[in-house]
Amino acid sequence: MASNISFNEKESLMSQTKPSLVDVLKSRLKSLKGEDLRKFATDPKNRKVVILAVVFLVMILLMLILVMARSIRKPPERGKETQFNSPTPITTPMPETLESRLKSLRDELNLGFEDRSLLPPQIEFDIEF
């Protein structure tokens, strides 16, 4: 008799009886209200919720570490100072005069247009002997 049930019917029967993952998580989280955290975490029924929470916590921690690492490594933008580096609080920036702009441009010009540090490295392609 059981063998006469088609695959689709089996699937629909199973879906009726088996609760979805979201339902499981919801019901588990509801049960947390009545229990203390240690009891909740050690209950085998809550294994999935605990694993998910741990994964999310690890990810958030990783994200924080990466964001902090990037902010430490990032050099301050030109014209901006970080609060840590400036000994005195920054008030309004000094307006750039035409004279100061001319001077900085002439200084820049003294460096020239060619960046010699970018010239190709010495590489040997004739290696046969």
Partner: protein, 274 residues
């Protein structure tokens, strides 16, 4: 259980994509400083490997033993891998420098940037043709010839075209900044009358002539850089040298413009009582 595993996998994949794929495209790849440091590291590594290769080669040539031949084979393999690494690191460094240099116009920069990406990929993929365990010394030499040919016929042109375009972009950026200052100083002379006006007009005419010189040289540099992609292309190093020589020629004129502008500014300020 299957959907639970899928949820965990999805979480990991999305975090992986965010941190290791999306972030580098916005920060590391575009950061010249880190690309340049990476290049310096790759250069040191190549120099070390090349020196090891030379030592092994000299020892093999002196002894001619099978053991020493095997030793030189291993060192050759290591050196060839570090050579490809160095090339891709160097190309990445000049790619990011060009990307960050202001003063580019039209499609010039985007075309070169796109070609450089192709070159970087070429060297990254080329590494895999060497086989550490199966390639004989002679096979490694043969495979190395492919890299030499590609470097001579393609890479060196892209390298020097990039370097020339970086210098040219800086040239145009500097010129534009001087032009902006010039317009501001010139506007201050507009209220002048009589002898003052005649004096300012004479000085402005001199400055205009200098700017024209700089513009003429700019056209010449552009024509030289265009040779990299034309039928006239010859020795890329020599073409680059000519472009830089032209830019240096204009530098004197730009320095003079800076001096003239300072003089004009002092004159205008003193007559305005500033």
């Amino acid at each position: 259980m299957r959907s639970f595993a899928a949820l965990i996998t999805l979480t990991f994949v999305s975090f992986y994509l965010f941190f290791f794929v999306a972030l580098p495209a916005n920060s590391q790849d575009l950061n010249f400083q880190s690309a340049f440091e990476n290049y310096l590291g790759a250069r040191d590594s190549y120099n070390r490997e090349y020196s090891e290769f030379q030592k092994a080669r000299d020892f093999y040539l002196a002894t001619k033993t099978l053991v020493q031949k095997e030793n030189v084979r291993r060192e050759t393999y290591e050196m060839l891998i570090s050579r490809d690494d160095l090339m891709s690191a160097y190309l990445t460094a000049i790619w990011s420098r060009l990307y960050q240099t202001p003063g580019g116009g039209g499609n010039e920069k985007s075309d070169i940037l796109s070609d450089l990406v192709g070159e970087i990929d070429w060297y990254k993929n080329h590494k895999s043709i060497y086989n550490q365990d199966l390639d004989t010394l002679e096979t490694l030499f043969d495979k190395s010839k492919g890299a030499k040919k590609h470097h001579e016929e393609t890479t060196s042109f892209y390298i020097y075209e990039t370097l020339a375009t970086i210098a040219f972009s800086k040239y145009r950026d500097t010129k534009t900044k001087f032009e902006n200052i010039y317009q501001e100083v010139k506007s201050k002379t507009e209220g002048a009358e009589g002898n003052k006006k005649a004096l300012y007009d004479r000085w402005i005419a001199d400055i205009d002539r200098k700017f024209q010189e700089v513009t003429d040289i700019e056209v010449e540099i552009k024509e030289i850089i265009e040779e990299f992609r034309s039928d006239k292309r010859r020795n890329p190093d020599e073409t680059y040298r000519r472009a830089i020589a032209k830019a240096n020629e204009a530098k004197d004129a730009i320095v003079m413009i800076g001096g003239f502008l300072s003089e004009l500014l002092v004159a205008v300020n003193s007559s305005n009582g500033q």
